[in-house]
């Protein structure tokens, strides 16, 4: 489903962010992406989401190849790969429901289907009751759930999360993590970047990809 083959990424000024990274993530798998700050975790996620391209090597996501993908195919790829950020990236002037509706609208969902789907998505993340609240009226954990509901709007097969619990207290973080596990059990592959060592230790059963200085230094599945 996702494969990186000898992927290197160099930035003009800061040099090599990734060096010869290779791994695969199968359908419905769950994996942590760990490593110290600056190790290249975000870069890996951005490459899989085609927000950036490798300097060398190849990234494949379902039937898309970084070397062959056409510009106009990228939106379709992104609809298959949901993305969740540490800082949520919700629109402050919109309610929870409107934030989710926004995603549905901009990918061309028929107007009459939107309200129903928003309600289902919010229920799925356990936030049906807060549909009319604005982000400023929600807790961090609730905000991240709205962001997850929005990421699920395109019915992605893969969910990428970049430190999704980084801004949350342990309780809220645990809740969001359980949400990911639930979605994973329903068939969505999840790749979650985190430097919450506690978390990773407590879930030793989950595959762990560890980066250090741009290199993949450990893959617990290998």
């Amino acid at each position: 489903m996702i494969s990186l083959r000898n992927v290197s990424k160099a930035y003009p000024r800061s040099g090599d962010a990734l060096r010869e990274v290779s791994f695969r993530l199968g359908k419905g798998e769950f994996a942590f992406l760990t490593g110290p700050s600056g190790a290249g975790k975000s870069t890996v996620l951005e490459l899989i989401h085609f927000q950036t391209r490798p300097t060398d090597g190849e990234v494949r996501v379902s039937r898309y190849h970084s070397k062959r993908i056409r510009r106009r195919d990228i939106p379709a790829l992104r609809r298959r790969v949901g993305f969740v950020f540490q800082d949520f990236k919700l629109l402050e002037r919109l309610t929870a429901a409107e934030n989710v509706a926004f995603a549905l609208e901009v990918i061309g969902t028929p107007r009459r289907e939107i309200a129903g789907r928003v309600q289902r998505l919010l229920s799925q993340v356990g936030l049906a009751a807060r549909a009319r609240s604005r982000p400023s009226e929600l807790s961090g954990g609730e905000r991240q759930r709205v962001a997850v509901a929005r990421a699920l709007a395109t019915e992605p097969r893969i969910l990428l999360a970049d430190e999704p619990t980084g801004n949350l207290d342990p309780d809220a973080a645990g809740g969001v993590f359980e949400l990911f596990r639930m979605l994973n059990r329903l068939g969505t592959a999840v790749l979650m970047a985190t430097h919450d060592a506690d978390f990773v230790r407590r879930h030793a059963e989950i595959r762990r990809l560890e980066l250090e200085d741009g290199r993949l230094v450990r893959d617990s599945a290998a």
Partner: protein, 291 residues
């Protein structure tokens, strides 16, 4: 519909900048429009004169009639020549007596006819430019029995020069303001994009198509241009109505051809679109591109 609604929201967000853009593009087109009016009307005057332009060659008295007949056939065959009229010495004298009444006595007493015979060449449309005229004149002058070839009056050339100058100034000034207008639109659209930066980022992340994201901004540029163009048309029309009334000397000024006005307004819209496309390309074009 959505794109148009959002383009209009852009106008509400930065009304001053939008007004400046519209004003600048309007001004550039008013300049073009006014000079266009001048050029068009000079063009009309030139057309009138042009039809009467003749190249005249005066024959030496001892020209052999064989040669003259042959030359006439050759001249008639020239691509630039519409017709060749031969005026004999007698006809010339006849005409001089008729046209210049005050001299009729003088001419009446003459024993020898001092006036030469002449060829009068009319040129075809498309060959009535100063260059073609003088070229035909020099062809005519090359015949050994032609004493002298003359053409048009100097003021035909002056009219041409005036029209070229008017066109040149209009293009330079109008072009200058059009450039300013485009820079303003580039900035306006850039502001609109920055104001919606968060939304654009989310659209790109969830997989909205590029066209969907860009359309409102492109439309904003095109609408700015279009409004500026229509404004310019209105102002030019107003000037056209008011101006001759003030300066009664100018009579029967002709309004611009519809093709010109339509092209002007369309150009304004196109420039707006182009400026917006430049901004859009720079500000949101990277999200799906390589690197």
């Amino acid at each position: 519909m959505r794109a148009l609604r959002e383009a209009l929201a852009g106008f509400r967000r930065t009304p001053l900048l939008c007004a400046l853009s519209i004003g600048a593009i309007g001004l550039s087109l008013v300049i073009l429009g006014l000079f266009g009016l001048v050029a068009h009307n000079i063009g009309g005057a030139i057309g009138d004169v042009e039809r009467r332009v003749e190249v005249v060659g005066y024959l030496l008295d001892d020209a052999a009639s064989e040669q003259v007949r042959a030359a006439r056939r050759e001249l008639e065959a020239l691509p630039a020549v519409e017709s060749v009229r031969y005026v004999s010495k007698d006809e010339a004298l006849e005409r001089a007596r008729r046209d210049l009444v005050e001299f009729s006595n003088v001419y009446g007493e003459l024993l020898v006819n001092p006036l030469p015979a002449s060829f009068h060449l009319r040129l075809r449309e498309g060959f009535r430019t100063p260059e073609a005229v003088s070229e035909t004149a020099s062809l005519l002058a090359a015949y050994p029995f032609i004493e002298e070839a003359r053409f048009g009056d100097e003021w035909v050339e002056r009219l041409f020069a005036l029209r070229s100058a008017a066109t040149g100034i209009a293009l330079a000034l109008g072009g200058g303001f059009a450039l300013v207008a485009m820079l303003l639109i580039v900035t306006t659209v850039r502001m609109a994009i920055l104001a919606r930066g968060e939304e654009i980022e989310i659209m790109q992340i969830v997989g909205a198509r590029e066209g969907y994201i860009q359309r409102p901004f492109l439309l904003e540029g095109a609408v700015t241009g279009l409004v500026g163009g229509l404004l310019a048309l209105g102002v030019t029309r107003l000037a056209f109505v008011v101006f001759p009334a003030r300066f009664a000397a100018i009579e029967s000024l002709a309004w611009l051809p519809h093709l010109w006005t339509a092209a002007g307004v369309a150009t304004a819209a196109a420039l707006g679109l182009l400026a917006a496309a430049f901004s859009v390309h720079r500000e949101v074009g990277r999200a799906y591109g390589p690197s």
